[in-house]
């Protein structure tokens, strides 16, 4: 209690604690709002899961820093109320189904792509659709007509070369549809209300056509999307509990085992101590990261295996020397002698008398160790050795690097996970620094 009150006297400690609590809050939120299996399904999902997301779209908040807003993705389904759907029987065999999609476009940027997803119901005779486009300035453009040769067909307006030739333009079709004169040298984006009409002819009494218009935007959600249209918020949210769990487990695992080994070694002395000292020296020569990399390439990339190997490599790390120096001093204290005199067992002496004495050194060390493990996980991901299933911050950075986020100016892609990594690192490190000052009276006032 006394220590806790003392912690609150350090503003840096409070900042660190608040950030850590915030990260824990985010972790809990992530785990509640999106179960583990769901997060993995989403992250491993391909086009079928993320069909309605744009590719590498910046987060929506970039609009706050721009004069004109960039468009978000507009999705209109003909089953929505905003879409006018009329059905008219022309003859015994032919029925007209008209769909009218209307949407507002007040943005200062072109969409990324336009796609229409058809959903047709028929027995044998394929429905026929023709699509027209109404601009706010009153022009009517024919987009195309086609037979729906499967029950769920996708028409990608952006990839229609015929349409581009018909519009006599060099612009990609999805941009040409939004300018005042696609054939001119200088053209202007027209803002206002657009309408897309789909008129379908179905040749069976029970047949029907529904469609979904997706105008892919340039911004998406709170975090943006990546090259596989995945919403980055999944990885950023779920990366938090994974990073915290990895960092905390590794720090706890290594610190506690190191402490116990140092305690046992110093207490028994002699050959036990000698062996431990030698192992520590061998361990110093072993390069940690390359060994992790080898384990990752040769055996398995599971995050939890990496955690185990990391702990195993750090157990005999430099910490042993520090703890040993303290234990050697403590071992000579009168209270240890007293305990021996009343016949305390070795294990009781080690765990009840020796180890509690180094908690003040251990605690700041433990807290400052957390960031280094969090960054190690990210480093492995950066080398392409990230866990194949889990969404982690490091994997997002790796994706961003490999898909040229820096060359193409998609800075958000790299900055978002980096910011979270930095925040985590700083929080633990700020707290660790303050704890160090609290538990080391010599540093106080310096």
């Amino acid at each position: 209690m006394k220590n806790l009150r003392e912690i609150l006297r350090y503003p840096t400690a409070i900042i660190g604690l608040v950030i850590i609590l915030g990260l824990i809050g985010v972790s809990v939120y992530a785990m509640i709002s999106m179960p583990y299996s769901e997060a993995i399904r989403l992250w491993r999902g391909g086009e079928n899961v993320w069909a309605q997301n744009p590719k590498t779209a910046a987060p929506t908040w970039v609009n706050l820093f721009r004069r004109g807003n960039l468009p978000p993705t507009i999705v209109i389904n003909s089953e929505d109320e905003t879409v006018e759907k009329t059905r008219e029987v022309v003859s015994e065999d032919v029925t007209d189904v008209d769909l009218s999609f209307t949407f507002d476009y007040p943005y200062h940027g072109f969409p990324q792509e336009i796609s229409i997803f058809f959903d047709a119901e028929y027995e044998e005779k394929q429905p026929h659709v023709s699509i027209t486009w109404l601009t706010p300035d009153g022009r009517e453009l024919r987009i195309g007509s086609m037979a729906l040769d499967s029950r769920s067909m996708t028409y990608r307006v952006s990839q229609d070369d015929k349409l581009q030739r018909r519009l006599r333009t060099d612009l990609p079709t999805h941009e040409a549809l939004f300018v005042d004169d696609p054939t001119a040298d200088t053209m202007r984006l027209v803002q206002g209300t657009y309408t897309m009409n789909v008129s379908a002819k179905v040749f069976e009494p029970d047949a029907d056509v529904d469609a979904e218009l997706v105008v892919y935007g340039q911004v998406h959600g709170l975090a943006g999307t990546d090259h596989r249209r995945r919403d980055l918020s999944v990885a950023l949210l779920w990366g938090t509990p994974i990073a915290l769990a990895f960092g905390l487990l590794a720090a706890l695992g290594t610190s506690l085992t190191t402490m116990i080994i140092a305690g046992v070694g110093t207490w028994f002395g002699g050959w036990v101590d000698g062996v431990i000292q030698r192992i520590t020296e061998v361990n110093l020569i072993l390069p940690v990261l390359p060994i992790l990399v080898m384990v990752g390439t040769f055996y398995s990339r599971s995050l939890w295996l990496m955690l185990g190997v990391l702990i195993a490599l750090y157990i005999f790390g430099g910490g042993i020397k520090t703890y040993r120096a303290i234990f050697l001093q403590v071992k000579e204290s009168p209270y240890i002698e007293a305990a021996q005199a009343y016949g305390a067992s070795d294990s009781r002496l080690i765990f009840r008398y020796l180890i509690p004495r180094i908690i003040p050194t251990l605690l700041p060390n433990l807290v400052t160790l957390v960031p280094s493990f969090v960054f190690t996980e990210a480093a492995l991901a950066l080398l392409g050795l990230g866990d194949p299933i889990l969404p982690t911050w490091g994997k997002v950075i790796n994706d961003a690097r490999f898909n040229g986020a820096l060359y193409q100016g998609n800075y958000y892609w790299m900055l978002e996970p980096s910011f979270l990594l930095m925040l985590t690192g700083l929080a633990f490190s700020l707290l660790g620094f303050s704890l160090d000052r609290i538990f080391n009276p010599r540093l106080r006032g310096m």
Binding site: L286, P287, P290, L383, L406
Partner: protein
Amino acid sequence: MSDATLTVDAKGKARGKGRTGSSTAARVAKYAGVRLVVLFFTVVVGIYLVVLVANMGGYVDEIRKGAIREQVSIAVFADESAEMRELTAAEKRELIEERVAVEVKRQGLDRPFIIRSFAFLRNAITLDLGFATDMVSDSGSKLVRLILLERLPPTLLLWGAANITLFFVSLFLGLFLSRKYGSWLDRVVIALAPTSSAPAWFYGLFLILIFAAALRLLPFGGMVDAPPPESTPMYALSLLEHLILPASAIIISSIFLQAYNFRTFFLIYSSEDYVEMAKAKGLSDRDIERRYVLRPVLPTIITQFALLLIYLWMGATILETVFNWPGLGRTLFRAIGLYDTPVIVGSQVIFAYLLAVTVFLLDIIYALVDPRVRIGGEDRTR
């Protein structure tokens, strides 16, 4: 390493000035000898562990045997010559078995892995690193030793330049701050010290983002322009241009913590009683600093430097990969991607030796500056 011992002897004698000269030199030499033996043993054990991991405890042998069998069967079945066509399927199978056995024996795979692992160990320790399975050096050789030697200078250049700058800048910054204790600069450095929790490659990403991607001032990575400039001054300039970002990343990632640590050490030592005493005697600040503060802090400073070097050797792989720096670290990364076991083991051996030499040299320097080793030294040689 024997060179190092010799210079130490000479220095030890020079320092001893006759009075305790020979015994000091002998002590330091004995200390160095013991350390050398211990470190060598350590390197041997460390490299053996690496050999085990890199061969997956013998599993790589099975993969290679499988590959031999496949190659041999394809060769036999693809052979359309007259005498081959006359063989029955059983005879062909026999022929395959025969040829596989010869090939396995030729590559030494018939002996148990444990025995061969010791052969690997002996080769590794004597730096007889063998041939790479896939990788080729720039000069076209498949000798692992040449591949790695070609990559050593870039690594030494980057880490040497960055570490030496880092060490001296942070040392003098720390000294300066301890004098200006409590000033705004002091507070800024204290506040920035926690930023060192992020590793160098992390700052590297940011530096690339700012100076290469956004401002287009400096190159994204690599070591020289492509094609490399012809004239030596232009080459050096290009090299320098490419060195700035990775070296800055290393420096930024540790300078504040280093300076903070040095400053704190200096402060602790300048509050000792004997320093107060010296002040009371009226000695100048400069004299106090040099004789009473810097002197006892020296071993600590050297330890800091040692730890810095050791940890930075380990960080090389990622930083070099991020910056496409053609050093040992990136070679290791590529070798792992190609499952090129000889190169992996080879670069580990080089790393282990570099670490051991670092540790050894620092031990010697430590022995020279630490009076407990120089004068009484028995307890430290444990």
